[in-house]
Each structure stands twice: as structure tokens, then as C-alpha cells.
């Protein structure tokens, strides 16, 4: 029976701070009343502001960073009433916070280099994924030269907290549709270019998070080149804990989840190998 993770709690969290980030984003830092243990990259919380203008159903947000004091940061693109209300939160107030939820990225070996392909706010799970790969805290320790982040967006303002990613000491390649920063083009063209100029070995493990068409394109590229590919989905969820059956995904009959035609993004994911689900 799919169930929420045993460390998940439905509780409140103190808002520690909200900082603007990029053109339309914020960095929200909260401290849950009952702090979570060390979190694997790719896990998420459902957050909701008690503000009356916010939707009643919390929305899922990947953990961006976790700090030693038990506080957690989220990188949030302000898009609608729910994220607007979160962005307006004042330090000292409380939010509804359900989590930690989801599976997170699995433990990878150091057998092949990893290329993370992020589109806009889809970069959120990759900060900790890079930190944890460098430290070997979940899976093998990976050398900085074997970690590449291709970080794309329509323009520079949508590459949220780009400098923080660059400070991690791995290879970060920015790509913008308008050429305002980095490679002039989309992430897929940037990735292909790396192969073309032999900046990347032919065999890599691809991890991707961002707009669905982008993830589909990355997964397609992986399939064509027979590469392992993992997606961190940002599905619309009704509960985050597996009880509403709303965030259904179609499973691949020949894949690891093929015993049932649908999977739940919240409790079976949000990180899936592309061999498991249809994008």
C-alpha cells in the first residue's frame, strides 16, 4: 500500500525569512516546529500560507537547502495566489507545512558522470543533489569534474540563484533563450553542444527537472542515446501523501512500476527513472 514517508508530519513552521530571487522568485526559509532529519535531495514539502487569499490545498515545493539549525529553504517562483501568499509571509509568522514527502534521488554510484538539466525553477532540487554527490552523503562521492549542471531559462532573470550554484564548485553551464547569459539557446541544444565539442563523455547519467516539454525532450534524448535518465516531477498534487489519487502518472508496462497502470507522483516519486513512467 503506497503510504507517506514515516518521517512526514502535518504541522506548522515558523517563517525565518523571505528574500527576492531572480525576476519573479523568492527564497523562503522556514523552521518546522518538529525539525526533519537530514533530507535527501529531491524530497519535498507541501506548503500553504494561512493567508485567506491562498488556496486551501497546499502546494508541493522541493527542498532547496537544509541548514544545521533545522531550517529549510525553498526556491519558489511566484506564479499564482498560493505562491504570492507564501512570498508575502513575514518572519515570525507560521505556515502550514506537510512533509518531508516523496522519495528523493536514489543513491547513485560514481560509475558515470552526472549531468543535471534544469529549467528555471526546476533547479530547486539540484542544489542539494550536487552538495550530496560531492559529499557522498547519499550514494557514492562524486568528483566535482564529474558533475555538470546545465541551467536554462528564457532569460537571465529566470536562472534563480545562479551564483550560489556556481559557488558549489562543479561545472555550471547557463543557457538562455535570449542569450542574456551563457549559451544562446535551450538546455537541450547546450547539452548536445557539450557532446559535440567533446566536453562530456558519451555515457552520462541524466537528471532533469523543469517544464514538462523540456523534461520530455531530455528523456527522449536519453532514450535515443541509451542513457539512464531520472526526472523530478512537479506534478499538480491534491494531498502530497497518497490519499487523494490525484497526481496519477501512466507507468510503463515493462518498467519497474509496471505491475499497475498508474503511479502516484507524490508517494511513488516525485523522482522517477524514465524507464518507469510515460512522460
Amino acid at each position: 500500500m503506497p503510504a507517506p514517508p514515516i518521517d512526514a508530519r502535518s504541522q506548522n513552521a515558523h517563517v525565518l525569512g523571505v528574500e527576492p530571487c531572480g525576476e519573479d522568485g523568492v527564497l523562503l526559509r522556514i523552521k518546522p516546529l518538529e525539525p526533519a532529519g537530514p533530507l535527501r535531495a529531491g524530497r519535498f514539502f507541501m506548503l500553504r500560507s494561512p493567508d485567506d487569499t491562498a488556496p486551501a490545498i497546499p502546494r508541493p515545493f522541493s527542498v532547496y537547502r537544509q541548514h544545521d539549525d533545522g531550517s529549510i529553504e525553498f526556491l519558489i517562483k511566484v506564479m499564482g495566489p498560493g505562491t504570492r501568499a507564501l512570498a508575502r509571509s513575514s518572519p515570525g509568522t507560521e505556515l502550514v507545512c506537510v512533509g518531508p514527502l516523496g522519495n528523493g534521488f536514489p543513491e547513485f554510484g560514481a560509475d558515470v558522470p552526472q549531468v543535471m538539466v534544469a529549467g528555471g525553477i526546476g533547479s530547486a532540487p539540484f542544489y542539494m543533489a550536487i552538495q550530496q554527490a560531492l559529499a557522498g552523503s547519499h550514494g557514492a562521492k562524486v568528483a566535482p569534474e564529474d558533475l555538470t549542471l546545465i541551467y536554462g531559462g528564457r532569460k537571465a532573470g529566470f536562472l534563480y540563484d545562479l551564483e550560489a550554484f556556481m559557488d558549489l564548485g562543479v561545472r555550471v553551464l547557463a543557457a538562455t533563450d535570449d542569450g542574456s547569459v551563457g549559451f544562446h539557446g535551450n538546455v537541450l541544444d547546450c547539452l548536445r553542444k557539450q557532446w559535440e565539442v567533446e566536453n562530456l563523455p558519451e555515457t552520462v547519467r541524466l537528471l532533469t527537472c523543469g517544464p514538462e516539454p523540456m523534461m520530455e525532450a531530455v528523456a527522449h534524448e536519453a532514450a535515443v542515446k541509451n542513457l539512464e535518465c531520472w526526472v523530478s516531477l512537479e506534478s499538480y498534487m491534491g494531498c502530497g501523501v497518497g490519499i487523494c489519487n490525484g497526481c496519477s502518472l501512466v507507468t510503463r508496462p515493462d518498467g519497474p512500476l509496471g505491475e499497475w497502470p498508474v503511479a502516484k507522483a507524490c508517494v511513488d516519486g516525485p523522482v522517477f527513472c524514465t524507464s518507469a513512467i510515460e512522460l
Binding site: 503510504a3 507517506p4 508530519r9 497546499p58 487523494c244
Partner: protein, 305 residues
């Protein structure tokens, strides 16, 4: 401290608060987030004879005052329920009600027969009213005779108390309730979701892949309260209120119109931990009002006398 225990057609509940079908999984998977022994009971998501993969995505959409869904009774079928779920729910520490669904009378009968021998199940809730199967035609919950027919056929194959879950999408719900009672229902659950629809006019896309789905949440509260009251007026069996209940005040309002217990659904999506706290909050309201027994609230609305 007010007494919170209620008797529901021969089943003793430690308090009148249950989970609503389809909004809390099978319940037991929530044991790490919710103290299940703080609930009056758990109503399972609908189980059908055959596995059902459910409807295509998108299946859910939030609206301004509620929630649209078109899950389509996704479940792994009765055999899987018996093998994988029932052994787990035994440890839940609360009353277990299994909700059964189907597209024909024979489907309901077969599901009830398959579950008849499992003592862990205290009652069956017969889902006459899912709007997300068979194109929302609701054949068993819009005609009193059809409701009676299903309940009678099911009652012939099981000794378990049967609750009939009705639809609000009718003109005279009390007639359906009477039909279910005549067919052998021990209780009425009022109500399932309202038929609803959402659309993004910019893209022209409906909010749900099936276009029409079930609308739930606080926006339907007054509709559900009216339905529950009409049922309670019309039948001699207990009524379990359901629809838009989001806090302790709502719980007591449903009891006031004559319900003996309530089910909480969509509110669990806003706060999955809420069900475990609700009974204590109801008790506090009763204590503040000087009410000694929650059953004293049942049917206290003047017009319901």
C-alpha cells in the same frame, strides 16, 4: 469532559468522526501522521470487484471554494484489498467501514459476498453515487427503486450493517434515502460530491480530463447539510453527514440537523493531520457550551424536531 461516544445502527464509535471514502486512502497508511485511535472510524476508498486503473489525468483541480476530482475509483480490486489491505487495517485501532462500488447490481453483490466473512469490517458503505464512473449518470442514486434494488440484493448476501451513500445530484434526496432504507440499509451517508466542471477559458481546456467530475470542499457545505437534514427527516435509520466539513463547528452543525456521525473528506487534503485532532476540538466546543454528551446535539435544530 463531554461524552463523545455514539451508537450508529449497532456499531459503537468512540466519537462521531470518520474519514470519508476516497479522501484518506484505506486509512491505515496514514498511521504515522494521524493518531488513528482518535477517530470514530475509517471508511476505505471504494473497492470494486475488478481492478480499475481510474480516469486519465488531470484528475483533480482546486476551485475558489472547493475541489474537483475525477479519480474514477482507481483501486486494485477486491482480491488485492483482501490480501494486502485487510491484514493491515486490523491494527488501526478504530472501526473499519469498507466502501464498495460497482457498475451493476451483480458487482455490488459480488463485492459484499467477498467481504462477508471478514470480522475486521464492521459495516459496508455501498457507494451508490460515484459521479466518475459510467459518465456521471448515477443510475443507482437517482432512482429510489434502483437504490432499493441494490441495497436489497446486497443485504441478502451479508449480515453486515449496510450504509447507503447517496448523491446530492437529485431533486428529492429523501425519496432515495427511503428507497435505500426499504432495501435494508442500516444507515444513510449523505452525501457524495456534487457534479462540477472547471475550465481555463484562455486555453479552452477543461480542468479535468473527463470534463465533468465531483465537486467537494467547503463550498458544498450548505448543500450537504440540507441533504443530510432532508434524509434525517425522512428515514428512521441513522444518517452520517458528509460534505464540506472542515472544522469542529461544521461537525456539530451536521449533528444538529440530525446526523449521528460525520465523515470528513477534502479537508484532509488541506491538512492531513486534522482528522486526528478534530474529536478533541469538538469535545472542547461541547465543554465550552456546557453540553455533557455529544448525542444531545443530534437533531437539536428546531425545525428538525
Amino acid at each position: 469532559m463531554a461524552s463523545m461516544e455514539v451508537d450508529l445502527a449497532g456499531i459503537s464509535l468512540r466519537n462521531p468522526i470518520l474519514s470519508a471514502s476516497g479522501t484518506f486512502g484505506h486509512g491505515v497508511e496514514m498511521q504515522h501522521m494521524v493518531a488513528l485511535d482518535e477517530l470514530g472510524g475509517l471508511v476505505s476508498k471504494t473497492v470494486t470487484c475488478q481492478p480499475r486503473p481510474g480516469n486519465p489525468a488531470p484528475r483533480i483541480a482546486e476551485t475558489k471554494a472547493g475541489f474537483l476530482n475525477s479519480i474514477g475509483l482507481e483501486n486494485r480490486g477486491i482480491e488485492s484489498y483482501i490480501e494486502s489491505v485487510l491484514p493491515e487495517v486490523e491494527s488501526a485501532g478504530t472501526v473499519i467501514i469498507t466502501n464498495i462500488g460497482g457498475e451493476s447490481v451483480a458487482d455490488y453483490v459480488a463485492a459484499a459476498e467477498a467481504l462477508a466473512g471478514f470480522d475486521v469490517i464492521s459495516a459496508l458503505e455501498v457507494n451508490l453515487s460515484c459521479p466518475n464512473v459510467g459518465g456521471g449518470r448515477l443510475p443507482f442514486s437517482t432512482d429510489p427503486k434502483r437504490a432499493e434494488e441494490v441495497m436489497r440484493a446486497v443485504s441478502e448476501v451479508t449480515d453486515k450493517p449496510l450504509w447507503a451513500k447517496l448523491s446530492p445530484n437529485v431533486t428529492r434526496i429523501e425519496e432515495i434515502a427511503c428507497g435505500a432504507e426499504a432495501g435494508g440499509a442500516s444507515a444513510i451517508t449523505a452525501v457524495n460530491t456534487l457534479l462540477g466542471l472547471g475550465v481555463d477559458w484562455r486555453t479552452g481546456k477543461p480542468a479535468l480530463a473527463t470534463v465533468v467530475g465531483g465537486y467537494s470542499g467547503i463550498g458544498m457545505g450548505p448543500v450537504a447539510l440540507r441533504c443530510a437534514w432532508q434524509c434525517a427527516q425522512a428515514v428512521d435509520i441513522p444518517v452520517v453527514g458528509c460534505g464540506g466539513i472542515a472544522d469542529a463547528e461544521d461537525v456539530l452543525a451536521f449533528l444538529a440537523v440530525g446526523c449521528h456521525a460525520v465523515q470528513v473528506g477534502t479537508a484532509s487534503f488541506s491538512d492531513p493531520g486534522m482528522l486526528g485532532r478534530l474529536a478533541a476540538e469538538v469535545e472542547q466546543l461541547l465543554d465550552e457550551a456546557g453540553v455533557k454528551d455529544v448525542q444531545d446535539v443530534v437533531g437539536c435544530m428546531e425545525a428538525s424536531k
